[in-house]
């Protein structure tokens, strides 16, 4: 990734302080299930939260460490299948299986990264694509374990939580399930935010911009790239575990390479390399096709067009567009002053 691509993203993205943004996010998450009462939109809310998780995980690998990972669907699938199989075959409790699922996806990400450690750019893109094809084919062909294309059925939602003095919280209820997934999405966002703002974030950015210079400064580029891959794919694993328990069925085709491209589109359209961009990208590309549902198969045409046009005309994505817009408004009314 060249430095010009990212230079546009370097400006301040938040005018409000982070505390206010966090409060606003919590309030919005709390209110959404009340605004959307029917099961169709509740489902979309949960899918949206899952997509946010996938997008911020991929963004950590692609936007911060600069590693083009086209195999994100594989880590999503590993998280989903590992956690579900542990519950079904070994009778593990959900939360234990959830943790193992995350770990398995993270380890798979690190393994691919170690394997592909000498590779950059295009070679890594193809290697990760190949990895996703292998994982999908294993899910299809290992029938004794995964039931192959027939899929796994009757996966239960996470167990109820009974706190003393409060009504039992059941995740069969879509509002509660949304709170759970969105809560975790927010938690992961804050963790990645913390990482990105720490010296680790600067180290990753240095590697992304110029690996040779970074290593001449004594940075162990290999270790940090493996680290970024591990973190990003672990987050995808968490999304996978939630996906299985929410949908209730698992088929390998939920994790084909097209899914990787969809997540990639969310990251790019939102604004790769900024923290909030992929969140907006995930929300836009989940909600917009549902709004346009009357137009039939336009959903993926929209993904393709958005991805192409954004790369051609607005490589910083929605975040860059918002900045440009804000700068224009600021210029036309100088009296308000900028929040810099």
């Amino acid at each position: 990734m060249s430095s010009q691509d990212h230079a546009a993203l370097a400006g301040p993205t938040h005018r409000l302080s982070r505390g206010w943004w966090l409060l606003a996010a919590v309030v919005v998450i709390a209110l959404l299930p009340f605004v959307f009462q029917d099961s169709y939109w509740r489902t979309n809310l949960i899918v949206c939260a899952l997509n946010v998780m996938l997008a911020i995980g991929l963004n950590f690998i692609l936007g911060f460490a600069g590693q083009l990972n086209l195999g994100h669907s594989a880590f999503y699938g590993i998280g989903a299948y590992v956690s579900t199989l542990l519950i079904i075959k070994l009778g593990l409790p959900f939360w234990a299986a959830f943790v193992v699922g995350i770990a398995a996806a993270g380890v798979a990400g690190m393994a691919l990264s170690i394997f592909a450690v000498r590779l950059r750019g295009h070679y890594l893109a193809i290697a990760s694509l190949g990895f996703a094809v292998i994982v999908h084919q294993v899910l299809v062909n290992w029938i004794s374990m995964t039931q192959g294309p027939l899929g796994l059925y009757g996966i239960r939602p996470p167990p109820d939580i009974a706190l003393p003095g409060l009504p039992v919280i059941s995740f069969g209820n879509s509002a509660n399930m949304f709170y759970l997934v969105a809560g975790f999405a927010l938690l992961f966002y804050l963790l990645l935010d913390q990482l990105a703002r720490s010296p680790i974030g600067e180290t990753l950015t240095a590697i992304r911009e110029d690996e040779v210079s970074a290593s001449s400064l004594g940075i162990d580029c290999t270790a940090w790239k493996v680290f970024a891959f591990g973190v990003g794919s672990a987050v995808a694993g968490a999304a996978g575990a939630f996906y299985a328990s929410f949908v209730g069925t698992l088929v390998p085709d939920a994790f084909i390479i097209t899914e990787s491209f969809t997540i990639l589109a969310m990251v790019i359209v939102g604004g790769m390399g900024s923290l909030s961009g992929p969140v907006w990208g995930a929300i836009l590309l989940t909600v917009l096709p549902e709004v346009l549902r009357g137009f039939g198969d336009l959903r993926f045409i929209l993904y393709g067009a958005a991805l192409t046009l954004v790369v051609l005309f607005m490589p910083g994505g929605m975040v860059q567009a918002a900045q440009t817009l804000r700068a224009r408004i600021g210029r036309s009314t100088p009296a308000t002053g900028s929040g810099r």
Binding site: R118, I126, T308, L312
Partner: protein
């Protein structure tokens, strides 16, 4: 048993030569531009559809439809270069064009889905049922013979072009050393355009011949292109000879795996080979001086 193996060898060479046609385009583009074109898959698919409609809707000759697909592919290649790669070239990014062509690919596949629908088209080449017996129980269909002859001729022509014409020499010069080639007065924009047109023409005609083999849906090209990527890497990015050997190798592996193990394992075998190559010999089967991206 040996006749079965011989039969699978013939089939493998047929598959392999088609993979070579598709993969050569990717490798040529990589050679001059150091870029990956994901929309190459859809050039294959559109080539197959062009041949299908020419043969069955317009009632044309199947052999002529290969030429039609070639022209359609060439036009698409010109378009993809003019709209995506040329505008992004000044920005000098390694990954943005790749991401943009993923977008183009999603767009084209789903536009085709809208027009052609998800149901596979029955692309029966009139030559698929005519069989030449080779003795010992082995045989080859006319269709497969056409595939082998057309591919071999095309690859030979491409070779002659690269060896003997100025454009071809310029192409190899740029692939070897971009800056020095620029100093020698080679116009890169024109050269890149010609490369895209040739590469996509190969993919288009490959599609016309793959049509009767594949399940012809808007997503047909994707299954070919992921293998073509594997072939390009196994052969060494930008290396024409390596790509030809690797393409035939993958075709043979696919054919033997179908017979001896389980067709479901083909992709796993091919991509495990790809990952092993990347780990232990990232320059490809035939080592070259190109080390910059490894």
């Amino acid at each position: 048993m040996s006749s079965v193996l011989l039969q699978q060898t013939i089939n493998g060479i047929v598959f392999g030569s088609l993979y070579v046609l598709v993969a050569l385009g990717l490798t040529l583009i990589y050679g001059v531009l150091v870029q990956i074109n994901f929309a190459h898959a859809d050039v294959v698919t559109i080539g197959a559809f062009a041949a299908y409609f020419f043969t069955f809707t317009l009632g044309g000759n199947y052999l002529a439809s290969i030429a039609v697909a070639l022209v359609v592919g060439a036009a698409l290649g010109w378009l993809v270069n003019a709209t995506i790669f040329a505008p992004l070239r000044e920005r000098g990014s390694e990954l943005l064009p790749l991401i943009a062509t993923i977008g183009v690919s999603i767009l084209l596949q789903n536009a085709m889905l809208l027009w052609f629908g998800p149901i596979p088209y029955p692309f029966d080449s009139p030559y698929s049922n005519e069989v030449i017996r080779l003795g010992g129980g082995t045989f080859i269909t006319w269709q497969n013979l056409i595939i082998i002859i057309v591919s071999t001729l095309t690859i030979a022509l491409l070779y002659a072009f690269m060896k003997f014409t100025f454009m071809g020499k310029a192409l190899r010069a740029v692939a070897q050393d971009r800056e020095t080639a620029g100093l020698m007065g080679i116009n890169p924009s024109q050269l890149i355009m010609v490369t895209f047109v040739i590469a996509s023409a190969l993919a288009g005609m490959g599609g016309a011949m793959l049509g009767p083999i594949l399940v012809l849906t808007p997503f047909a090209g994707t299954s070919v292109i992921v293998k073509a990527f594997a072939i390009v890497i196994i052969g060494g990015f930008g290396n024409v000879e390596g790509t030809i050997i690797a393409g035939l190798l993958v075709g043979l592996i696919e054919s033997y795996a179908t017979q001896l193990v389980n067709p479901g394992l083909i992709d796993i075998i091919v991509f495990t080979l790809l990952l092993l190559m990347l780990a232990f010999r990232p320059t490809g089967l035939i080592a070259e001086k190109r080390e910059e991206n490894v």
